[in-house]
């Protein structure tokens, strides 16, 4: 039909996206570093940068290398036991939620899907509540993230089964199934909570956690969250080519050789691990999984091989900055982290929803 040899069009594509990618990371990596530094350096108590540097030196370098300038115990506690773990937890929670958002958007073939929206978040909350009220969380710290993952997994299966028929997920059905399942799961969680209030202090802790936030995160929380998030992101990176094809529709994916059923199971499991790990240490924080992948997709395009790692890094930096905002905007009180992310994500969500409905109408 067309015998003229083309100039290599693919070289063109890959070089174009590579250019995008290097510029993108050229901006993103300094932002990630700056956000982590700012998260540690800025807070309600003023601590000088030189003190922070001294604490880092004390903690990270061998004894022999450190200089002998003294650091007060209070400064050391604030920097090393309060701020650093909080910033690290924020980073991994943000990365996990953003990566989960990417996976769920491919699974539901819908840019609106997000852990909090498709029931995974509330499922994880319910799992966490169960591990609190049964006392498992007291016997093993690991039970909290594990139960949160199981809860997220169950919720995803329910919502998927409800909203998807023959590999097609209409927006309205997805949102309704997500809302209904979330409402049901959170009602069960509240019920469990109200019939099990033995210890007022524990109940308060649970409520606080259910509302979402990063107050009083410790190194334990870092170890409970970070390994699972890393595991989840590595598992997602293995599935990026399946994700691309699934985004075009299940039938298309199958016809190009994707084992759709097993691929969807893996995806759901990975999304549940990421959501569970994030919710276990920070409670339910909405809109990160919606906002971040969407923004990154606008810049880098929808190809999951580039979208996934970029979204995870951006999500981490985004949540660190949101948390910084939440604890410094109105001192000495902290604003709930969920308020900040909802203020950023809510308008975007409404915009996306309107655009999708306009797309359907056309």
């Amino acid at each position: 039909m067309n015998a003229i040899a083309p100039s290599d069009p693919l070289a063109n594509v890959s070089s174009r996206s590579r250019l995008h990618l290097s510029i993108f990371y050229g901006f993103l990596l300094p932002i990630v570093c700056l956000s982590l530094l700012a998260g540690v350096g800025i807070g309600s108590t003023h601590i000088s940068w030189s003190t922070i540097l001294r604490v880092a030196e004390l903690k990270l370098l061998p004894q022999a290398w450190t200089s002998s300038v003294p650091v007060t115990k209070a400064d050391e506690v604030i920097v090393w036991l309060i701020r650093v773990p909080r910033v690290i937890v924020a980073f991994f929670v943000g990365a996990g939620l953003a990566a989960a958002g990417v996976l769920l958007q491919a699974l539901f073939r819908n840019p609106l899907a997000e852990p909090g929206l498709v029931g995974a978040g509330e499922g994880a909350v319910l799992g966490g509540v169960i591990s609190f009220v049964t006392g498992w969380s007291a016997t093993s710290v690991l039970s909290l993230p594990l139960m949160a993952m199981v809860g997220a997994l169950l919720a995803l299966f329910i919502v998927y089964a409800m909203s998807t028929r023959g590999g097609v997920t209409p927006v309205a059905t997805l949102l309704l199934a997500g809302v209904a399942t979330s409402a049901l799961l959170s009602a069960v969680a509240s019920l469990l909570l109200s019939v099990n209030i033995v210890n007022w202090q524990i109940a308060q802790e649970i409520v606080f956690w259910m509302m979402g936030g990063l107050d009083a995160r410790t190194w334990t929380h870092v170890w409970l969250c970070a390994p699972f998030v890393v595991l989840g992101i590595v598992a997602s990176l293995i599935q990026t080519r399946d994700l691309d094809l699934l985004q075009l529709g299940e039938e298309t994916a199958a016809s190009f050789g994707v084992d759709v059923e097993s691929s969807k199971r893996m995806l759901t499991l990975t999304a549940a691990i990421l959501t569970g790990a994030a919710v276990a240490v920070a409670g339910l924080i909405g809109f990160v999984g919606l906002l971040v992948p969407h923004a990154v997709r606008l810049i880098l395009g929808p190809s999951n091989r580039t979208l996934l790692p970029a979204s995870a890094l951006t999500g981490g930096a985004f949540l660190v900055l949101c948390d910084l905002l939440a604890r410094t905007i109105h001192p000495p009180t902290e604003i709930r982290l969920g308020i900040v992310t909802a203020l950023c994500g809510g308008p975007l969500f409404i915009y996306l929803l309107l655009r999708q409905y306009r797309g359907v109408a056309n």
Binding site: P6, L10, D244, E251, G301
Partner: protein, 268 residues
């Protein structure tokens, strides 16, 4: 040359047989059209051939082996399926869409090889979409998008190409364009199966017609044998007049719906 075959294939939904039993063989560089009214089972037969659905009775065979006993990737390398135009909410570029066609040929971690590269380039050139390679798929016109979907199936380098209503949303110019493309593929040795309800468009391009109604194969063969005015009246419930054309293939002019309908399933 490979052969796709249905042997007494049956599809049931909710306990009811909606398709078959049907037996048919397709192979060796043919271009075949599956025709019939809406709901006649064209798409079902196409999905059975593509291994996307598994028959509830009987067998679907690729070179004598049950299709569902083959690995998903193996089927994908040999039988390409072009779906009816679908809404894609994500702005993949045409280049990215084409590259996805190499899924079954590449390992999960292997980078794109020279062979992948060459397959993508030649498919793009063949379907005349090289200039669209950087465009986002959701900014293309219907005709362009259909060419992209066909090009993606060529990227697979399959033996069979199955198309579901490829001309359904196209104007006459682009519809003929797409059918010409399909015909040229069959001349290149690919076996092409097109499911369509618009038989007036396809008859001059295909070597064989398979007529379906109510999930049953009514007739198969060349146009003269399959599509007489009586058959059209019974199957499509319209009166048809055959008008001879310069090309040698008659076209049909339709008028006036007949009252009584013929139920093939009941009369068996």
């Amino acid at each position: 040359m490979s052969v796709l075959e249905a042997r007494n294939a049956i599809v049931k939904r909710g306990g009811r047989t909606i398709f078959g039993p049907a037996s048919v063989r397709i192979g060796a560089g043919e271009m075949t059209a599956l025709i019939g009214p809406n709901g006649s089972g064209k798409s079902t037969l196409l999905r059975l051939f593509a291994g996307l659905w598994r028959p509830d009775g009987g067998e679907m065979l690729l070179d004598g082996n049950a299709i569902h006993s083959l690995a998903r990737k193996e089927i994908a390398r040999r039988v390409a399926f072009v779906p009816q135009e679908i809404q894609i909410d994500f702005a993949f570029t045409v280049g990215e869409i084409l590259a996805m066609g190499r899924y079954a040929h590449r390992g999960q971690f292997s980078p794109q090889s020279q062979v992948d590269h060459a397959a993508i380039n030649s498919a793009a050139a063949y379907c005349d979409i090289t200039h669209l390679i950087d465009r986002a798929i959701n900014t293309l016109s219907g005709g362009e998008r259909q060419r992209v979907l066909i090009a993606r199936s060529l990227v697979v380098e399959p033996e069979f190409i199955l198309l579901d209503e490829p001309t359904a949303n196209l104007d006459i110019h682009h519809a003929l364009d797409v059918l010409q493309l399909c015909e040229s593929l069959s001349h290149k040795g690919k076996t092409v199966i097109v499911a369509t309800h618009d038989f007036n468009l396809v008859t001059r391009h295909v070597t064989r017609l398979i007529l379906l109604q109510g999930g049953l194969l009514i007739a198969q063969g060349p146009q003269e044998e399959v599509l007489g005015p009586e058959t059209i009246r019974e199957v499509f419930q319209v009166e048809a007049e055959m008008v001879p054309m310069k090309t040698g293939h008659p076209v049909y002019v339709f008028h006036q719906r007949t009252r009584e309908t013929h139920d093939f399933r009941a009369s068996r």
